[in-house]
Symmetry: C2
Subunit: 350 residues, 2 copies
């Protein structure tokens, strides 16, 4: 597998998007978050998205330079039409609106429709942390998950993200799908020809399967919880309601051509607690988790977000591996956009 | 097992609490929610709590007639000292504060500390539904759940509730612990001498066990998710932060003697969407779930909250079974409070 530095991938991606007609500042925002996903180990949301995003732009489905439109607003809330701009560019703006509202009124919620793929939830939730706020982001899109006791795709993988400042400790960061497995992980397993563990997927007849191909042949992902999967079903339905119905995107079962619906919230900590005390208690909790006794077979107990930080440290030093097939696709897209791939890579290796 | 009508249990419970010095209106509020829990099938939060609550009152730990105290307030938020009043009485007041704030400012969040056991999350989340709002309630208490990869109790079972109006359909109601199994269910299994399925509990050495006794001998409940239990761990930690740290109750691992911390939120739907349209889409989603194809071995797909409504219908007609041991304890408590049990039961059977 070829290995690249974050800077190499960033520079190449920015050039590719500029080649596709994306203004530099937007290209930089998108690549910033795609490369960050690779750095923290979530390759399913990294540079492998470049060809798909470019394809969306060329087909007119994703509209660079689109301006978001606030269609309904109160001091604490906003409903936003994303006008099909690049997801990352839209979702950063809408999260900033939520933060600005929380800054003035202690809580801000923004719901967005007509939005392209925004990537990882953590990126937006974390924006609130710098303002001493609790950040939340949830996304709805097309259906991929069967309800508990059912076999049809009704819900989206319904990812949710939370981020909370923790003083001297790195922020608490949760970024999970409320299904057993994110859609991106199924696609990665398929690309690598790998099996998924039993309990992740069912085939079109509702039979448990380990073959990721079954997902793409009318099967479905299972909700979080296994034997108590009604809990994951409920969590997915909450996201279907907040990020889907409240945003105006519509529920997941209505189909994937409605893009993503986004629900973002910021809560100002100082409205409730002294911020320094809050952060100290956060740090204490994080250390209590980290220092607790591991299960047999585990080296230690991880705090949500910790694995990502460790991976980032390693990848900043050793580089980011990109599977050959993914790299070939990126290069093909880059050439189509008349980008000199070698020049993008050279400038940082010399 | 003896069987009673909801009215019999209600009347008996009110008399018992009055005997313990609780004002009638508070006794009625508590019994209203305890009997409702029995009706919807969650006996772990029903009349079996009466002896424990009375014990708390007699020991001065629960303080009837206590007045809640808003210690910090903004137009959209409040931090409340529950002053150890009866949990149900406190949590109804604080949810009403959240609703009143949302009524004026579209969102309201109230966090409460020094709070006794409040019962089921659904009861408070549902209060928002009558105001065309989305309601949320989460609770933190002492530790019972190990983090993924760990064996020590760090988190509470961290229950969360959501309720959303759905027009002609009954409201969407989710009320779940973010662990595999609620604490009350472990206690019920213990009382009945029944085994729990593998994957619910570990013993004090971290070994999987089906024996509920192991939980009370230093074991722990597992987080939601099984092989992806880091997701349940993260969800529990969010509750530990919002209902525990933000409320001032403190994180679960600090111990159980801090009572419950409560996080309640109301979101006004009309700030985002036309309410009639929203409810219509909710109804459509509910029917899409209900009418979707069931898995082999399932009769149908249930919408969260639907099982509870069905159970309520049955129990309103056929009565509520109370296990003999639970009934004996209630009668014992009633006699201690000089309550004429037979009179309470008779008045509704004649």
């Amino acid at each position: 597998m070829p290995i690249f530095t974050a800077q190499q991938l960033y520079r190449l991606g920015v050039a590719v998007f500029e080649g596709a007609g994306v203004p530099r500042s937007e290209a930089e925002q998108v690549m910033d978050l795609l490369v960050e996903s690779n750095l923290v180990g979530h390759d399913s949301h990294g540079v492998l998205r470049i060809p798909g995003y470019v394809d969306g732009i060329l087909k007119g489905k994703i509209k660079p330079e689109a301006r978001i439109e606030v269609v309904k607003e109160t001091p604490t809330t906003a409903l936003v039409n994303g006008n099909w701009g690049l997801g990352q560019v839209v979702a950063k703006q809408t999260m900033n609106i939520a933060i600005a509202k929380a800054d003035k009124h202690d809580i801000g919620i923004v719901a967005t429709f007509n939005c392209s793929h925004i990537g990882r939830m953590a990126d937006y939730a974390l924006m609130a942390v710098d303002h001493d706020m609790i950040g939340h982001c949830a996304v709805n899109a097309g259906p991929g998950v069967a309800p508990f006791g059912g076999i049809q795709r009704i819900f989206n993988q319904s990812p949710i993200g939370w981020a909370v400042p923790a003083g001297k400790e790195p922020p608490f960061v949760l970024d999970i799908s409320t299904s057993v497995c994110a859609g991106g992980k199924i696609a990665v397993a398929r690309a690598k020809g790998e099996k998924l563990p039993l309990g992740y997927l069912i085939d079109k007849d509702g039979k448990p399967t380990t073959d990721s191909e079954d997902y793409f042949r009318g099967g479905a992902c299972l909700p979080l919880g296994g034997p108590v999967g009604y809990k994951g079903t409920g969590l997915a339905m909450v996201v279907d309601i907040t990020a889907g119905i409240l945003s105006g995107r519509g529920a997941a079962y209505l189909g994937g051509n409605r893009g993503q619906g986004v629900f973002q919230m910021a809560i100002k900590i100082s409205a409730f607690r002294d911020v320094a005390e809050f952060k100290e208690e956060m740090g204490n909790l994080i250390r209590a988790v980290r220092n607790s006794k591991p299960s047999p077979g585990f080296k230690g107990v991880l705090v949500p977000g910790e694995l990502e930080l460790r991976t980032k440290e390693i990848r900043l030093e050793k580089g980011i591996e990109v599977p050959q097939a993914t790299w070939d696709e990126i290069v093909q897209t880059a050439r189509k956009m008349k980008v000199d791939v070698n020049r993008c890579l050279e400038s940082f290796t010399s």
